[in-house]
């Protein structure tokens, strides 16, 4: 375990920060510009996983376990969210035969 933490600490914390911010930004941009619902969900997962990575890095640097415990919370709830989300996508697909977000624009003022 100690060697893992030493490996993690071998890379400066700033690198983790920049790396995770980049992944998070890719996720955000993906959600905003992509049209396929499945891809949007994958981008959301990308956002959540960049958070997980950053939490683990902070946790290792501070020698504090609570950050890693939080990762489990995030994973569990992300799984619950995706389960519901995929069910919604299937429901939409049954009615519209499409997973394109443009097919859903009836509600406009």
């Amino acid at each position: 375990m100690d060697s893992v933490i030493q490996h993690i600490q071998g890379i400066p914390l700033n690198h983790y920060l920049i790396f995770c911010s980049v992944i998070f930004s890719i996720g955000v941009i993906g959600v905003l510009i992509r049209r396929n619902v499945i891809i949007i969900m994958m981008c959301v997962e990308l956002m959540l996983n960049s958070v997980n990575l950053l939490l683990a890095a902070f946790s290792a640097y501070r020698g504090d376990a609570s950050g890693q415990v939080f990762v489990f919370f995030v994973m569990a709830l992300a799984a619950a969210e995706v389960a519901v989300g995929l069910a919604i996508v299937i429901m939409v697909y049954r009615n519209t035969k499409s997973v394109d977000i443009e097919s859903l624009s009836k509600l406009r003022w």
Partner: protein, 461 residues
């Protein structure tokens, strides 16, 4: 804590009742459970100001008062649900279960003392709602609303989590007292991560409360969801999110007031104008209420902009007034839609003649939402404007007054339709079942009571 445990067990119990086809027992059992949970909350009043379970949750009076409000409003909404759910789906038990689970999450958001609990609470609250919004499986609008709500909810959760992570990186703890100690302990050397964390948390929470410019999902979702679920979303969920917002900013981030106030100020002004001006242009009552709920989020944010000793009781009063008026308005909409099949303003024509009592209840709700004196809405708005006035934010006050005037205009449009417009196809009698009558009477009486004797609420917090 008793209330949270009661509600989670109650949800599972109700699910089993549905499994064994005990359809008539669903509503009584649910209401009974809510009363028990309410009893737990009232019994805990003034006892627990210290965090429990390793600092995970705290049941101070702030948490308890907002939890009591959430439970009471849920009870009123469930009373309205008697025949409503049965008409749109055969699986009635799932509705009650999901609403109860969502309420559990709301109570957790009210009483968190650790960012993990804030996150878990918001997720429990939202995931149950994603299903509820899309529960009319073959209805196109309901589908679209569910998908939009899910995508925006998951998206905003990402921001919330990144904010929490950055705060953790700066402070090394998820405990809000620990974070607060960090802010007070190092006033000069606060890490830049912390500032980024505040902004991202602000974005995440603004998504949840539907404040502009993160409000674009609100009208579509509120419009597409079943009316009763919309009323739940626009009252309980919003109230709980504001309680979470308030705890975070009034307890943890207060020392950094100068940093986040300008950001919040911009959000408030955009929210007020977006909500009110869009509401002005609607022809559908349901959509008008959706936009007006955005505007009300803007008013409630006043108390956080001018954070101080009065903020909690101000938001609490406003939340009571807004929730009661919304429940009445949505209840009235259900009845009118049942009779006319439409949620446009013109469906309300001649309601004043055919159903004078229903028309009076809706009128009082509209006056309360508009903030006319002698109703609870006036007291709520007065508290909000009062907190801002103490800080001499005159520009904000003037803008808010303009918005309140716009609000009066579109709320009174419904009243005009009810009393002064004649229906084209002849008047249709709208029948009001007993359970609706009870809810309307309770909501209207409390609205007027708070309007006449505001001290009974203001002295609580």
């Amino acid at each position: 804590m008793g209330a949270i445990i009661t509600l989670s067990l109650l949800g599972i119990l109700v699910l089993y009742l549905g499994l064994y086809k005990a359809k008539n027992a669903l509503l009584p059992v649910t209401l009974l459970g809510l009363v028990v949970a309410l009893g737990f909350e009232i019994a805990a009043w003034d006892t627990g100001a210290t965090p429990i379970y390793h600092g995970m949750v705290v049941f101070d009076n702030l948490a308890l008062s907002f939890s009591i409000l959430c439970i009471v409003i849920t009870g009123l909404i469930l009373l309205l649900s008697k025949e409503y759910f049965r008409a749109i789906s055969s699986n009635v038990a799932e509705y009650y279960t999901l609403i109860l689970f969502s309420l559990t999450g709301a109570l957790l958001v009210n009483s968190y003392h650790n960012f993990a609990m804030l996150f878990v609470g918001i997720e429990i609250m939202s995931v149950a709602l994603y299903i509820l919004v899309g529960i009319r499986k073959t209805d196109f609008n309901s589908n679209e609303a569910a998908l939009k709500y899910f995508l925006m909810g998951a998206f905003s959760t990402g921001f919330l989590l990144f904010g929490i992570t950055l705060l953790y990186g700066a402070t090394g703890t998820f405990d809000i007292t620990g974070v607060k100690d960090y802010v007070i302990g190092n006033p000069q050397t606060i890490s830049p991560l912390f500032y980024g964390g505040i902004l991202l948390l602000l974005v995440g929470l603004c998504f949840k409360i539907g404040a502009a410019p993160f409000h674009f999902w609100t009208p579509d979702v509120y419009d597409g969801a079943p009316i009763l679920i919309t009323s739940y979303m626009s009252t309980v969920v919003k109230v709980a999110s504001f309680a979470g917002f308030l705890r975070l900013f009034s307890y943890v981030f207060v020392p950094l007031h100068d940093y986040w106030t300008p950001v919040l100020l911009v959000i408030v002004i955009i929210t007020l104008f977006m909500g009110n001006i869009s509401a002005l242009m609607q022809t559908s009552f349901k959509r008008m209420l959706a936009y007006s709920s955005i505007a009300h989020a803007g008013y409630m944010l006043f108390a956080i902009v001018a954070i101080g000793a009065d903020s909690a009781s101000g938001i609490f009063t406003y939340a009571i007034a807004y929730s009661l008026a919304s429940v009445t308005a949505f209840g009235g909409l259900i009845l009118v839609k049942r009779a006319h099949g439409s949620d446009q303003f013109i469906a309300f024509n001649e309601l004043g003649k055919t159903n004078p009592l229903l028309a009076i209840a809706i009128t009082i709700a509209m006056l309360s939402l508009a903030g006319i004196p002698l109703t609870a809405g006036f007291i709520g708005k007065f508290m909000m404007f009062h907190t801002v006035m103490q800080d001499y934010k005159i520009t904000l006050l003037i803008l808010a007054a303009i918005n309140a005037a716009i609000g009066v205009f579109y709320y009174l449009r419904v009243v005009v339709h009810m009393y002064f417009k004649s229906a084209d196809e002849g008047a249709v009698e709208v029948s009001v079942p007993l359970n609706f009558k009870i809810v309307f009477i309770i909501a209207t009486l409390v609205t007027i009571l708070i309007g006449l004797y505001p001290d009974c609420i203001l002295s609580i917090l």
